[in-house]
């Protein structure tokens, strides 16, 4: 059965605390910390972008997969922060991991669910036998407008998955997608920062699509929340995943291993995929995992995975996601953050 053959994560080491951002804008730090369960977020260095993080996460996935990169027939990079407007991120990635030239490559964009879109397509191509292995990456270096609520959460990271039919560490038992046209968050061409519909981003957007996709995949698979060991929901803030979990009948215990957002922020296309890598890191053979992404605009992709015996052989072959999150981090102040994120206007 087709499934995940290798997985890898990458998180830059810079962090900025919610208090540090709130101090600059005269905002209420305890409100963000308690209300949204956000403490700090990752920040890319000036020499890091969606492509560099996608390459590092993919190299980690390759270490776990232990396959010849030339056998990868499809490479997809999902992001809302591709470094070029025109010129694919996927070509750089495919070249860097030595998968070129016999490879199909595309960049995907769908707010925070571009990563799982790539997973859906790569998995499907493997299932129908069009490619032997398919690589899908969710990666973002997202930006919120200075002072906007999104600035407290918009973070950077990448997660990569190689799908195949042999050496599988997590079998893909079921997939399901739930999509409608919902203008809850957008960014027009040539605009630097996205805009969002404020409170509109909750019920008709995040909650409707995640519950729609979760209920859909459970019905399709004939399963219930109690059948799962772990569940990962998209993490725009700390609170939403727990609330949507409660609505669906999942427990905190099922959510927590993949819940990274309070110390990581919202890594957009990498958000639920990184939650999946952290969950795989602590999973045992036979464990059942549900992942449901969410992307504004809007849609959710859901996958059911069953962990295989091979998981124990591959875990230690690349850095674990919690270690990337908790070790070797460095705190920066708002001035350095503004410089790194190019929020300071310099002379030409």
């Amino acid at each position: 059965m087709a499934g995940i053959v290798g997985y890898g994560a990458y998180i830059p080491r810079n962090r900025i605390k919610v208090e540090e951002i709130a101090k600059v804008w005269g905002a209420d730090a305890p409100g963000y910390k308690k209300g949204l369960m956000l403490e700090e977020k990752s920040v890319p260095s000036p020499d890091q972008d969606t492509i560099t993080m996608a390459v590092e996460a993919s190299k980690n996935a390759l270490k776990r997969a232990g396959i010849d990169p030339k056998a990868i027939g499809a490479v997809y990079v999902g992001s809302e922060s591709h470094p070029y407007a025109v010129k694919p991120s996927g070509t750089v990635l495919a070249e860097a991991i030595n998968a070129t030239p016999e490879v199909h490559t595309a960049d995907l964009e769908f707010a925070c669910k571009a990563g799982t879109e790539g997973m859906f397509i790569a998995l499907s191509l493997v299932q129908v036998g069009a490619v032997e292995y398919g690589l899908a990456v969710g990666a973002d270096t997202s930006q919120g407008a200075p002072g906007d609520a999104l600035e407290y959460s918009a973070a950077a990271g990448a997660a990569a998955f190689i799908f195949g039919k042999d050496k599988v560490v997590a079998e893909a038992l079921q997939t399901y997608s739930f999509t409608t046209d919902t203008p809850d968050f957008w960014r027009r061409e040539y605009q630097y920062y996205p805009q969002h519909g404020g409170r509109f981003t909750g019920d008709p957007a995040y909650f409707k699509h995640i519950t729609g996709a979760a209920e859909g995949i459970l019905a399709k698979a004939g399963m219930k929340p109690a059948d799962f060991d772990y569940v990962i929901f998209h993490q725009p803030n700390g609170k939403f995943p727990f609330r949507v979990g409660e609505m669906l009948g999942f427990t905190k215990k099922q959510i927590e291993p993949g819940w990274l957002v309070s110390k990581l922020g919202n890594t957009y296309s990498a958000s639920s995929p990184l939650g999946l890598t952290a969950t795989l890191d602590i999973s045992k053979p036979g464990d059942m995992i549900l992942i449901v992404s969410y992307g504004s605009g809007a849609g959710s992709d859901a996958f059911i995975f069953r962990v295989t015996e091979r998981i124990d052989e591959v875990k230690a072959l690349a850095p674990k996601t919690r270690d990337l999150l908790d070790k070797n981090k460095v705190y920066i102040d708002y001035g350095v953050y503004a410089k790194y994120r190019r929020k300071i206007r310099k002379a030409e």
Partner: protein, 130 residues
């Protein structure tokens, strides 16, 4: 700095650290060469450099070329990779005081240089603490 066509020709080295290994004496040439400087052999097989090593020496650049002004001060060092090859690269993600000779590093894929806001972005390898 490279122009796009020079950069493009060097992609195998910049992205994947592809080197040539002398089929006679095993000398590893990076970048690849036509003639082995050790034994004069002209046959090489493709190999990939080790992705970690040890810092042999380094310097801190405080007055950088114009394109690197934003990054100053920054470290550039030579590492002996685990396959014995010596490689020069920028050392990043490394706090001052931590950086020292003998430090273990590994190679990460990073942006090296961008031709302004509208030009090509050049990617390549840098050292980070292992």
């Amino acid at each position: 700095m490279p122009n796009p066509s020079k950069y493009w020709r060097e992609i195998p080295q910049r992205y994947r650290l592809e080197a040539g290994k002398c089929t006679k004496c095993g000398f590893i040439a990076f970048p690849p060469r036509l003639v082995c400087p050790q034994c004069g052999n002209r046959k090489f097989e493709k190999t990939k450099l080790a992705d970690s090593g040890t810092i042999l020496t380094f310097t801190i650049i405080r007055v950088p070329p114009h394109q690197f002004e934003d990054q100053a001060p920054y470290a550039v060092g030579i590492a002996e990779l685990d396959d014995g090859v010596r490689l020069t690269a920028q050392i990043v993600d490394c706090d001052s005081g931590v950086l020292k000779i003998g430090m273990r590093v590994r190679i990460e894929f990073r942006k090296i240089y961008e031709e302004g806001a509208a030009g090509v972005i050049y990617y390549g390898y840098k050292f980070v603490p292992a």
